[in-house]
């Protein structure tokens, strides 16, 4: 059937393919969580290093910024000769794109701790470790979460592009619909990607509110 004459969503297909849809949503979520998680594990120590030794900040931002500027299809495609059509290729690319966002926000968060507060904590006899875990980290959380939110939403969009190296989550459904000229698949894929991004953002805002009770009134 010609695409333009198809209904936007053929609900009978949706009903019979719920397990497929659920599988792709799960794949999409997994690829995203893994990317943002690994991104956090990489950038957290880097941010601390850059604050312990400031000259490191420039090169780190330049390096992650360059990575950020490479077109996604190109980056994924370039990885194929090395790591093949695998989840590893997809994750290397996806993690790469989270680094700049997370790093910049972590640094902004650490810089946002007022000197007065640090002085007060020092005066109260806080050591380095307690200063970090009890004062600096909590105060850096809002900026850190802003970074996690941007990174998550961006990654959810980027996962669709990994369909060209055999991954893709909902992007795979989207592209299959294109190849089969079946609009329902395209629409379900596209709508769920956006819904997933919005849902993830809402969940992260909720987590942030729980973790930073003192900031609730201000937001």
């Amino acid at each position: 059937m010609l695409l333009a004459s198809q209904p936007w969503v053929q609900w009978s297909w949706v009903r019979t393919h719920l397990h497929v849809i659920r599988h792709e949503v799960w794949q999409h979520l997994l690829l995203t969580l893994l990317a943002v998680g690994i991104g956090l594990l990489i950038t957290f120590p880097l941010a601390l290093l850059a604050r312990a030794w400031r000259p490191l900040e420039g090169p780190l931002i330049a390096l992650t910024g360059t990575l950020y500027a490479v077109p996604s299809l190109a980056l994924f495609a370039v990885l194929v000769p090395f790591t093949g059509f695998t989840t590893t290729s997809a994750e290397i690319g996806l993690v790469g794109y989270t680094l700049l966002i997370l790093l910049r926000n972590m640094l902004a968060g650490l810089d946002a701790v007022p000197d007065d507060v640090r002085d007060a904590a020092l005066g109260m006899g806080f050591g380095r470790w307690r200063m970090f875990t009890r004062v600096e980290l909590p105060l850096a959380l809002p900026a850190l979460f802003a970074g996690i939110r941007i990174a998550t939403v961006t990654t959810i969009g980027l996962v669709t592009v990994t369909v060209f190296i055999g991954e893709g989550g909902l992007g795979a459904m989207l592209f299959q619909g294109f190849q089969n000229t079946f609009r329902t698949q395209e629409v379900v894929g596209a709508v769920l990607v956006v819904a997933l991004a919005v849902a993830a953002d809402v969940v992260l805002v909720g987590v942030q509110r729980v973790l930073t009770p003192w900031a609730r009134g201000r937001a």
């Binding site: 996604s72 495609a77 395209e186 596209a190």
Partner: protein, 246 residues
């Protein structure tokens, strides 16, 4: 390097005569790529700049401008590209639609924020000098908003050039064709060379716009270019100038 992507392989790919002629040659595909991007940017600017300027001047609709930027981040270009095909046909048009949708949010948000963040004292002074609203926009606010506006233009252009690579997947040509062909026939040299061409074009556009920015931004404001690299403001992930991988 693994899989035969050596510097010499890349060199010989670029020096092969057949890659420089005909419809599949670099010049033609480069021209296609530039054309798709230029058309998209012009349309996006026509859509984004007027409301950005007006709303920023009136300082209304800030929530809309910010949410549009966030929404733009959430909608994948690939989805727009694919869903638009039955309406606009295979070719350049769905690509242009997706690219316009990609470029409008940073342009609109940055224009709005640039206009809305003009100092109140300055606006007061302009009014005190008897300027009309139009004079104020053109002679006071727009020049002051120029650094942020240009940052939005650079972000949008960079993203559009990078994302136009995806357009090759729906047969609208451009430099992405080298990458998609390379993926199809498993030719890693062609993939890498295609990627090099896209990155080179994006960097060239970035350099060109940097020169334009230097020309249109008043000298005392040029330091504000740094605002482009300013970290995201805490609390809200709504930094108007954030770059996005495309």
């Amino acid at each position: 390097m693994i899989a035969g992507v050596s510097a010499s392989a890349i060199g010989s790919w670029f020096s092969e005569a057949s890659h420089w002629h005909g419809a599949d040659g670099i010049p033609h595909r480069l021209a296609q790529h530039v054309e798709i991007c230029a058309i998209s940017m012009v349309i996006a600017a026509a859509i984004a700049l007027p409301p950005g300027l007006v709303l920023g001047h009136l300082r209304k609709g800030g929530v809309l401008a910010q949410n549009l930027a966030n929404l733009g981040r959430a909608i994948p270009s690939l989805a727009i590209l694919i869903i638009a095909v039955p309406f606009l046909g295979i070719g350049a048009h769905p690509a242009e639609l997706a690219l316009v949708a990609l470029a409008v949010p940073p342009l609109l948000t940055n224009t709005y924020v640039g206009m809305a963040s003009v100092d109140d004292d300055v606006r007061e002074a302009a009014r005190g000098m008897g300027m009309s609203a139009a004079q104020m926009v053109w002679r006071v606010e727009l020049p002051l908003a120029a650094p942020l506006l240009m940052a939005g233009l650079r972000t949008a252009t960079f993203n559009v050039i990078a994302t136009a690579t995806l357009a090759a997947e729906i047969a609208s040509g451009g430099l992405g064709q080298f990458i998609s062909t390379g993926l199809e026939v498993n030719d890693s040299v062609e993939i890498v060379c295609g990627a090099i061409l896209v990155v080179a074009l994006a960097l060239a556009a970035e350099a060109t716009l940097a020169v334009v920015q230097h020309a249109v931004v008043a000298a005392p404001l040029r330091q504000q270019r740094r605002a482009r690299q300013a970290p995201d403001p805490p609390e809200e992930p709504s930094n108007a100038t954030v770059l996005e991988p495309a």
